[in-house]
């Protein structure tokens, strides 16, 4: 059967090109790999190689022709033992059918409209039902709660292990992994060299194989070295594999500002990770949430970025004494019910809201405080339901202002509850500067209670 040679597409963007010259002439024997012609594309001069064996039966487009559309038949090769003369007569029809079939199939997606993501109703989540009535509450630091969560999950599942810098012998740079080496041994509590990019990749590879790694970054600032594996290797693989290859892994460690550690050790990455489909991003405030969410994160089949805070590590909260204390990822918690204004925050941002609400109560302003707990997927329903009740919203975070998590909250509240808002949403964020070292400047760079109080007074027109 004669074989048509079509004008090839030689780059992802090429639609037409110049058939510069033929390097073979009619009657020449052709074998795979032979250079047939030169084509000038929009980018470069390329060679057309023969794929099939035979004799060049005819040339349909002469050398030097400009603007030859991709898939136009340019020559015909006659197969072994075929008559070049009769072969030359056949090509046009066959070539046309190939040319017609290919672009039609390729062009199809351009006219397809992306289906909208399913809308959700604004039903507030009731976190108060998470702890059964009568459960004993034990005062616990966030640090201990995180350690207990890991220990419980490691006991329950032999595939769970922790790796990171100083997690084992040193007992954790911030003592979060204290005692785990003694309990689980060096195979499951793995000290790594200082090599974030490498060990994050190793952990993701181990997760592909079905282990459930917990990767501790000494701080999330250092995870910048590893962010390629968090995003390109962990978050995207399930999608790129058509659902075949999940990545059950937790990346955890302290995030954001501590105290006086300068710009390279104070960055809040909540907004960065929250931008990425395929990740879950958790940022707890209380010890109970830290424990329940970390246990959920370890059990989750997806990659979870778990953002802790050094200042919160030592703070004590009541933690329910339960065998299986789990907090669902993706659900907010109403920390303080109120009727006048909705304060939304997460992680250490909650501390500003709680203090501001206590002050504002003295002025007769009743604040509802929502702790998002999870940044992605974001429980915007609980926020919207609250705003529908209060008509006002202030969102607080320590991260930078541009493209921040609170910008996302404000946009979604506007989209879902515009008619209920009695004032524009106000965002209180860290200042748009690298974190300074000087005590006075650092204090200025972070949000403060006064700013939250002023914002609440502004949206309530007091």
């Amino acid at each position: 059967m004669p074989i048509d040679i079509l004008m090839p597409a030689l780059s992802p963007t090429m639609e037409q090109g110049k058939l510069a010259k033929w390097l073979k002439k009619v009657g020449d024997k052709i074998k795979p790999g032979d250079i047939l012609a030169e084509i000038e594309t929009d980018k470069a001069t390329m060679e057309v190689e023969a794929v099939d064996e035979g004799v060049l039966a005819s040339i349909l487009i002469e050398g030097g022709t400009d603007n030859v559309a991709v898939n136009t038949p340019i020559a015909v090769i006659a197969g072994e033992g075929e008559d070049a003369g009769t072969a030359a007569a056949a090509p046009a029809a066959a070539a046309a059918s190939v040319a017609a079939a290919a672009p039609a199939a390729v062009a199809a997606p351009a006219v397809v409209t992306a289906p909208a993501a399913p809308p959700a109703a604004a039903n507030a989540y009731d976190a108060s039902s998470e702890v059964p009535a009568g459960t004993a509450m034990v005062p616990t630091t966030v640090r201990e709660a995180l350690r207990d969560a890991m220990a419980e999950e490691m006991r329950a599942d032999g595939n769970v292990f922790i790796m990171g810098e100083e997690v084992a012998e040193y007992q954790g740079a911030y003592k979060v992994t204290q005692g785990l080496l003694q309990q689980f041994g060096p195979k499951r509590v793995v000290d790594t060299p200082i090599t974030e990019h490498g060990f994050a990749g190793i952990a993701v590879g181990a997760a592909y194989e079905g282990l459930r790694p917990i990767v501790e970054f000494m701080t999330f600032n250092f995870a910048m070295q590893a962010i390629d594996h968090i995003i390109n290797s962990a978050a995207k693989t399930l999608y790129m594999s058509g659902g075949q290859l999940g990545c059950p892994i937790v990346f955890r460690g302290p995030n954001g500002a501590a105290a006086r550690v300068g710009a390279q050790h104070s960055h809040d990455y909540a907004a960065w990770y929250s931008n990425v489909p395929g990740l879950k991003v958790v940022m707890p405030f209380t010890a109970a949430d830290a424990k329940g969410l970390l246990k959920s994160a370890i059990r989750d089949p997806n990659p979870v970025v778990f953002l802790e805070n050094e200042i919160l590590y030592g703070q004590t909260f009541p933690v329910p004494q339960m065998d299986n204390w789990l907090v669902p990822i993706g659900k907010a918690r109403i920390h303080r019910p109120g009727k006048d204004v909705t304060l939304v925050s997460f992680g250490i941002g909650m501390t500003y809201c709680i203090k501001a609400a206590a002050e504002l109560e003295k002025d007769g302003i009743d604040c509802e405080i929502i702790d998002l707990r999870t940044i992605r997927p974001m429980d915007i329903d609980t926020v919207v339901a609250s705003v529908m009740k209060t008509g006002r919203c202030v969102a607080v975070e320590e991260g930078f202002p541009q493209s921040g998590v609170t910008a996302e909250i404000a946009t979604r509240v506007m989209g879902r509850a515009f008619d209920y808002l009695d004032a524009p949403v106000i965002r209180i964020t860290g200042k748009d500067v690298p974190m300074p070292y000087a005590a006075n400047l650092e204090k200025l760079a972070l949000p403060n209670v006064g700013e939250v109080i002023a914002a609440v007074k502004a949206v309530t027109y007091r």
């Binding site: 030689l10 990019h197 993701v204 590879g205 181990a206 194989e209 997806n302």
Partner: protein
């Protein structure tokens, strides 16, 4: 000889040269790792399938049926086929973006691979991954990675999982001479050696990182030495000679499997085509490419042995080629007419 092996025991007779079937070369061959007739036949079939598949991919790219990037493996077939011939069930494979050959060598279906190239629902990733992103848990193929060098850390992690589970499997980690300069490669070497992980690192040195020759990019061009500061043994192998590849692969895998830690194999190979389909390959001469094709082609070497040493009839070889073409044409037919993914697929497989 451009791809001469460094070590005495892996010195090959000039492949494809006149001598390969003559009496003079027989003596050298006697000291050289040999394949049985069945192994040579297997190698021929496997490599030919990859060659024909890649030729078809290039053709379909030209027809606009395959979009974006498409990196062909033509010329390098002996590397992955030889390694697979020495591997055991359960051994994992991971590589970069030039991955079609690895998938076929792992036993993945040509239809599924080609339909992924055309972005159709029958593709291994249901059309959502493309040429560089396919996986098969069943065949222990873990991608298909587009970030140069990322597969080295990820593949070390596969070896970590074997170590963690006391599983005797070995992780086979392929990367190019270009990726060999990435920092995470050495981070991974360090940890693999430190923890004695069962990993074989296979550097497919095809002499060009896109358009940059090895000499212009690498201070140390002997990639088998890249693990020396971590005490990782390595050797240079004639990656165009499947016998050398298989023998070196078996040595390396035995080393890794026996708990001695990682091993590096530099496979000296060559890609005939450009880096991707849109590469005019101006950084090398046509003569260089032609010389490699004529004198060192991995498939022609096996073919010559089949004819001269094993007395296989030309007709039988023709039939093998015809069968490879049939398989590839069937895959092309499927990949051309299989529907695109349902639009609902846009929002699936983001989270489990």
């Amino acid at each position: 000889m451009a791809v001469a092996a460094r070590k005495a025991k892996t010195v090959a007779p000039k492949p494809g040269s006149k001598a390969s079937g003559s009496k003079a070369s027989v003596k050298i061959i006697a000291n050289f790792p040999q394949l049985t007739r069945d192994e040579d036949m297997h190698a021929y079939k496997e490599m030919l399938l990859i060659r024909r598949f890649e030729e078809k991919s290039g053709q379909m790219y030209g027809m606009g049926l395959i979009g974006g990037f498409c990196h062909l493996y033509i010329g390098q077939e002996a590397v992955v086929v030889g390694m697979q011939m020495g591997s055991k069930p359960g051994d994992q494979v991971i590589t970069g973006y030039r991955d079609h050959g690895h998938m076929l060598a792992c036993g993945m279906e040509p239809r599924g691979v080609l339909a992924e190239l055309t972005g159709r629902r029958g593709g291994y990733s249901r059309g959502k991954g493309g040429s560089m992103h396919m996986f098969s848990r069943e065949k222990k193929f873990f991608g298909g990675h587009g970030i140069v060098g990322a597969q080295v850390s990820l593949g070390t992690g596969l070896g970590f999982a074997n170590w963690y589970r006391n599983d005797p499997s070995v992780s086979l980690v392929y990367f190019g001479d270009g990726a060999a300069n990435q920092g995470q490669v050495y981070e991974s070497f360090n940890m693999a050696a430190l923890w004695k992980l069962p990993v074989v690192y296979i550097v497919e040195n095809n002499r060009y990182a896109m358009g940059t020759s090895v000499n212009r990019a690498s201070a140390q061009t002997d990639f088998s030495r890249r693990g020396l500061s971590f005490n990782i043994p390595g050797e240079q192998v004639d990656g165009m000679d499947i016998r050398a590849v298989k023998a070196a692969g078996e040595r390396a895998m035995e080393h890794a499997r026996s708990g001695k830690g990682p091993y590096i194999l530099e496979m000296q190979t060559y890609r005939y085509r450009g880096h991707s389909m849109s590469d005019p390959a101006k950084y090398r001469t046509k003569d260089e490419v032609q010389k490699m094709r004529e004198e060192h082609d991995p498939i022609e070497q096996v073919r010559a042995r089949l004819i001269n040493q094993w007395k296989v009839a030309e007709d039988e070889l023709k039939a093998i080629d015809a069968k490879a073409r049939d398989v590839v044409n069937d895959a092309a037919e499927f990949a051309t007419h299989d529907p695109e993914p349902d639009v609902a697929e846009l929002y699936t497989d983001i989270l489990l």
